[in-house]
């Protein structure tokens, strides 16, 4: 086959060429991400990233100072070692960048698990700890989720971001994944395949294993949340809208109430044990069903 073209005068011309070359990919979803590929863009983004206190304090908020370096890291345009070195160069004490560097650690960790399990990354690494077995979960992603038309406003907003940007904030990924697996009782594999279609940073290790973490097939309990958690970490976005417009009834209630609704066969402990990570500050994560880790 002939070589593909390299001479484009601008992005528009490149995109037109790729639409023509890969019509199936464009038919699945016509959007082009605002993330520009390449080392030049990666370096510019690295140069403006915040790695110290500002990152640690705001990273859980969808408007927080996260780096959005993931597509570059995923494709090796930046190595984890050089991003870590850039982070250390920005702070006076290494501990000030610990939160950020531990997130890089998550990537390294998932990559290592992938190297160990290989294609088994598509199978449940452990049983579900939800009081259900894998057979209780649907195999396929329902169309209303696939097209972002669930009627739950914040879920549909997340879907649209996924389709148009090819990127979601980590908290958004967790909310959407938990919605698919726990609220809709769909196998995590169906959700993971869907994310991989759209994410510009889509990576079998970070993606599938994070889905397994949410589902509880690679963690000690399922991740879930409630509306207070969404409100808190989305800023003012949904603050004054009525439940009728938000379609968020299924998320209203305390963690105990939600847990009984989602996992009626088991008694999920609402303890404060911290098996995965050093304890978060007690007040910040009071709203979380799975308190061991904020990713």
């Amino acid at each position: 086959m002939a070589d593909m073209r390299r001479d484009f005068k601008d992005r528009e011309e490149l995109v037109a060429y790729l639409r023509e070359q890969f019509p199936e990919a464009a038919a699945r979803s016509p959007h082009v991400s605002p993330f520009i590929g390449g080392r030049t863009s990666a370096e510019s983004r690295l140069a403006v990233s915040k790695f110290g206190a500002e990152y640690a304090q705001t990273r859980n908020y969808v408007t927080g100072s996260v780096t959005r370096l993931s597509p570059y890291i995923r494709h090796g345009v930046l190595t984890l070692a050089e991003v870590r070195d850039a982070a250390l160069a920005q702070v006076s004490r290494a501990e000030d960048a610990e939160k950020f560097i531990s997130e890089l650690g998550w990537r390294d960790y998932w990559q290592r698990v992938y190297a160990q399990v290989g294609d088994k990354i598509w199978q449940d690494l452990e049983p579900y700890k939800t009081g259900f077995t894998a057979d209780d979960y649907a195999d396929e992603l329902p169309d209303d989720i696939r097209y972002g038309e669930t009627g739950v406003r914040f879920i549909d907003d997340l879907c649209k971001e996924l389709f148009t940007l090819g990127y979601l904030h980590n908290h958004g990924r967790m909310w959407l994944a938990a919605y698919v697996v726990h609220w809709r009782r769909v196998k995590w594999q169906a959700g993971a395949r869907w994310f991989l279609e759209h994410l510009v940073d889509g990576d079998p290790a970070s993606n599938n294993l994070s889905w397994q973490w949410v589902a509880s097939t690679y963690s000690h309990k399922p991740y879930y949340y409630n509306w207070d958690n969404v409100l808190r970490f989305t800023g003012k976005k949904y603050l004054n809208a009525s439940p009728r417009i938000l379609g968020n009834e299924a998320f209203l209630g305390t963690y105990e109430v939600i847990a009984r609704r989602l996992f009626p066969n088991i008694d999920l402990e609402h303890d404060h044990s911290q098996p995965h990570q050093s304890p978060p500050k007690p007040t910040r994560f009071k709203q979380d069903g799975k308190k061991d880790k904020r990713r």
Partner: protein, 145 residues
């Protein structure tokens, strides 16, 4: 640098112009192949293809599409190469292509190169992140030497 005729096989897990293969064999012909079967199997959408293509436009590579093993074999022949350099990937598909290439072209030396690691520690308990992090934290918070 050795005199052995070398080509570089670039894949999607390492689109860095400063990668080890480019450092070790600067100026060597390089190839990237869009893996049509994989794009199809994963249902990859345009967003990712555009992003990857932009990365590729900053690399000195020939860009093709199709069956990776076939295209790679052809590229090696076109350049009479006796050595292929590529980057490490944890992907089983990458390992399978490497194995198939070695079998098909036994006279050609395939070298898989790693970048400077995040942490060097090898035997780490991966059952849960907390165990991993306890074991590597000290090194992770230290600059690459």
């Amino acid at each position: 640098m050795s005199d052995v005729k070398t080509v570089i096989w670039v894949h999607a897990d390492n689109l860095n112009p400063h990668s080890q293969p480019f450092k070790l064999a600067a100026g060597a012909p390089a190839l990237f192949v869009f893996d049509d079967a994989l794009l199809q199997a994963w249902g990859i959408t345009l967003k990712r293809i555009v992003f990857m293509y932009e990365c590729l436009l900053e690399l000195p590579v020939t860009i093709r599409r199709g069956d990776v093993l076939e295209e790679l074999t052809r590229f090696v022949a076109e350049h009479d190469a006796l050595r292929v350099l590529t980057s490490y990937s944890p992907s089983p598909r990458h390992a399978a292509i490497c194995a198939a290439l070695r079998q098909r072209l036994p006279r050609v030396r395939l070298e898989v190169l790693s970048e400077a690691p995040f942490v060097r520690a090898q035997q780490v308990d991966l059952k849960r992140f907390s165990r991993y992090w306890q074991a590597v934290k000290g090194e992770a918070l230290t600059r690459t030497s």
